[in-house]
Amino acid sequence: MELKETLLSSYMAFDAQDGPQRKLQDQRAAAIEVFEQQGFPSNKEEDWKYTSLRALTKVDYSVFPKEEVSLKLEEVKQYILQDVDTYKIVFVDGIYNAYLSETTHEGADICLLSAALTKRKYAPIIKKYFNQIAEKEASLTALNTAFTNEGAFIYVPEGKQVEKPVQIIHFATTKNPKLLLQPRNLIVLEKNAELQVVERHQSLSDNTTFTNVVTEIFTEQNAQLDYYKIQNDQSQASLIDSTYIAQQKHSHAKVHTFSLGGKLIRNNLNFYHKAPEIISTMKGITLIEGEQFVDHHTLVHHAHPNSESHQDYKGIYAEKATGVFNGKIVVEKEAQKTNAFQKNNNILMDDKASINTKPQLEIFADDVKCSHGCTIGQLDEDALFYLQTRGIPKKEARGLLTYAFANNVLQSVQIDSVKKRINKLIAEKLGVNIGFDV
C-alpha cells in the first residue's frame, strides 16, 4: 500500500479514537481532504523542484507508536542543554515524557498542546490562534493538521518576559522503528512578551524516521521572539519543518536554523506581517556531508509599511551533499518604505556536492529598498596560503576559514550555551580544534 493510502486509513482509526483531537474535528476533516486531493508534493511543483520525497514516501511508516518508551537521563543528556537553566518539553516517540520535562503554569503557560486542547480555560486561545496562520492548502501542513494530537503549547501573557529559555525536544527511539512523527506546536506571545526557544529533533538510533512538524507562532504588539532550531540528526532521519509566524506591530521575530545533519531536511519558514513597523530576522548555517540534503524555503510577506526583514544563510557542502535555498520576498503595494535584505553564500567543498539556489523578489510597491545577493564559491587560496606560511597546517587553515565564513551567523545568537554548542558541533564537523571560544 502506498504511504498516502496508509495515512488515509490511519486517519480513520485516529479519528475514531478518543482524545484531545476530538476538539478539532472540523479543521482536521478539512485538512485531510486537502491532503487526500494533493498527496505528497512531487518534483513537478515549483516549490519542490529540487527536493524529491519519493524515497521518503516509499517507506511504510506508522503514525502510532507501538509502545511507550522511558528513557534514562544519561541516555539523552548530550542532546539537552545542561549548562543553562531551562524549561523543557520533551517527547519520546511522540509521547510526552514528564520525567525529562520541566513545564510551568506560573507567569506563562509552557505545557502541552493536548492539555491546552482539553482544558476549558484555553479554549479562547485555541479558537483564536490554532490553525489560523498555517497554510491550509499546503499538503504536508494539512497532513499535520489532520493528525494534530500532541506538541508544545506556549502562551506568554502580556508584559511577561520568560526568564529561562524553553527547550522543545523530540526523541525517536529504537523501540518504534519507521515512525512518522507529526508534532504540532503553538506559541503565542502577547503584547510586550518575550520568549526564547530552542527546538531539536533527535533520533537515538539509525532507524528510519520521518518527522513532519508544524509550528505556529504569533507575536502580538511589541513582542520579542528568539527561536533556535538545531538540526543535527542521524543519517536515516528526515525532517520537514514548517514554521508560520504572524507578526503584529513593532514585534521582532528572529529564527536561527542550524542544519548540520540528517538524511533530508526541508525547512519552510514563513513570516507574515499583519501590521506596520515589524522586524523579521532569519539566519542559518548549513554544514553537511555524505549524501545529506538540506532545503531552506523562506518567505517574508511584507504587507504593511515601514517594516524590515533580514536574511543571512551560509551553506557549506562537502562530499555528495546537496543544498537548496529558495528565499522569497513579497512586498505588497501597501508596504511602502520596506527594507528587505537577503544574503545566501555557499561553498562547495567537493566535486560531487551541489547547490541550487533561487533568491526571489516579488515587489509591488515602489518606495522600497530590496536586495538579494547570492554567491557560490570556494575558500580563498591566498588566505589559505597565508595561514600555512604562518605555520598553521592546511586542514586547520581550511577549518578556520570555513569557520570564519559561517561565523557571521553565530554572532547574533543570544543564548551562550547554544552558541557554544553550535560552535563545538561545527568544529567537530570540520575536524579541527578552533582553539578559542566565541
Partner: protein, 481 residues
Amino acid sequence: MAYTEEELKKELETKEYEYGFYTDIDSDTFPVGLNEDIVRAISKRKNEPNWMTEWRLDAYEKFLKMEEPDWANVTYKKPDLQSISYYSAPKSQVKYDSLDEVDPELLKTFEKLGISLEEQKKLAGVAVDIVMDSVSVATTFKDTLAEKGIIFCSISEAIKERPELVKKYIGSVIPRTDNYYAALNSAVFSDGSFCYIPKGVHCPMELSTYFRINQAGTGQFERTLVIADEGSYVSYLEGCTAPARDENQLHAAVVELIALDDAEIKYSTVQNWFPGDKNGKGGVFNFVTKRGICHERAKISWTQVETGSAVTWKYPSCILKGNDSIGEFYSIALTNNYQQADTGTKMIHLGKRTKSTIISKGISAGHSQNSYRGLVKVGANAKNARNFSQCDSLLMGNSCGAHTFPYIEAKSKTAKIEHEATTSKIGEDQIFYCNQRGIDTEKAIALIVNGFSKEVLNKLPMEFAVEAQKLLEISLEGSVG
C-alpha cells in the same frame, strides 16, 4: 511649473502608440486556421524541397502533443491558434533592382518609422533585409557581403541555395520539441533571415533586419539562423515596430546562433511591438525562443532593449559548450500601462573555464508587471566556471510590480557564481539635487533612467543605441528628455 511625478504618470497613461498606423497594401493571405494542409501549403508556396516539408510536418506532429506552458509570471488570454492566418506576403512578388520600383505605400511606412532605405544605405552603412510581414522585399548590400563570402539572405532563399548549411544547423540549438511555441514556429515559419560568416572573416558591417507585423490578424513566425564559422565575427541587429491592432497578435519567433571555434556573435535587439493601449486592450504577444551555442573559445553576446508587446516571454540563452567560451546578456526591459514582461536568460556552463555575465535592468511603470527569470547552471565538468549576474529594477508608481526569479544550480566545486539584485525607486534626493542645479524634474528623471540603463545601452552598436534611447523616450514620454 514644476513637473511632478503625478503629471508624469498622467502623461504616461495618455501616451498612445506613436507608430500605430496601418499600411494599405494588397496581401496574399492564407485562410485562417492551422492543420497539416496549411503546413504543406506554406511549404509549397515557398517552393521548398521535400526534406524541409517533412521537417515541418514532423514539427507539427510534435507540436500537437504539446501543451501551452503557463509557468511564466504573466496572465493573458491564450491565443486561439485556429483563428490566425499563417501566411501573408505582400502581393508583388518581383525582386526589385532599385528602390524606385518598390510599392510607394511600403516606402512610406518605412519613412514613418524613420528608416529610409537610402539613408540607411548611404549614412549608416547597414545592410537591411527587410521583412514586411513574412517575405523579404528588399535586400541591400548583398554584393559587398558576397565579396567576403558572407551569405546574408532570407531563410527561404537559403533553404533553396544552401540546403547543406540549413540542414546541418536548423533545429540544432533549439530542437523542435524544445517548447510549445518553438514547435509551432518550426511547423509554420514563414520566413526569416539566414546568415553565414565564413572562416576567419570579420563582417565589415552591422547586419540588420527589421520585422513588423502588418496584415490584420496575421501571426508572424520568423526563423533566424546565424552561423559564424571558425574565427569569424559578426554583429547582428534586429529591431521591430508594429502597427496598432485591436485584437492580440501572436509573434512566435525562433532565433538560433551557432558560434564555432573562436567565433564571436553579437546579437542586438530593439523590440517595440505594439504594447496595447492604456487600458491594456490589444497589443502583441511576443513568445520568442532565442538560443546560441558557443564552441571552443567562442563568444555570444545578447543585447536587448524591450519596450513593446502586451505580453513578452523571452529568454535569450547561451550554451557554453566549448572550453573558454563566453556568454553575455545585457537587457533593458521597460513596461508601462498593462504590459507584462517575463524575460531573462539561461547560461548553461558545460565547458571548462567558461564565463558568463548577466546585466538586466527592469523599469516598470503604470500597471505593468516586469519579471526577470534567469538560470545559471554549472555542470560537473565545467571546471573554473565563472558567472556574474546583476538584476536591477526601478519602479515608478505603486500599481506596477517588479519580480526576480533567478535560478542558480552549481555542480562543480570550482564554480564561482555571484548574483545580486536590487529594487528601488528614483530617489527624491536625487531629483532634488538635480532641481537644485537648475535641471527640471522631467530632465532629471530622464538623466536618472538613462544612467540606470547606461551599462546596457553602452553595449549596443552606435546607430542602435540612438534608436534605443528614442524608444525609451517614447515609452516613458514626458519623463525622459
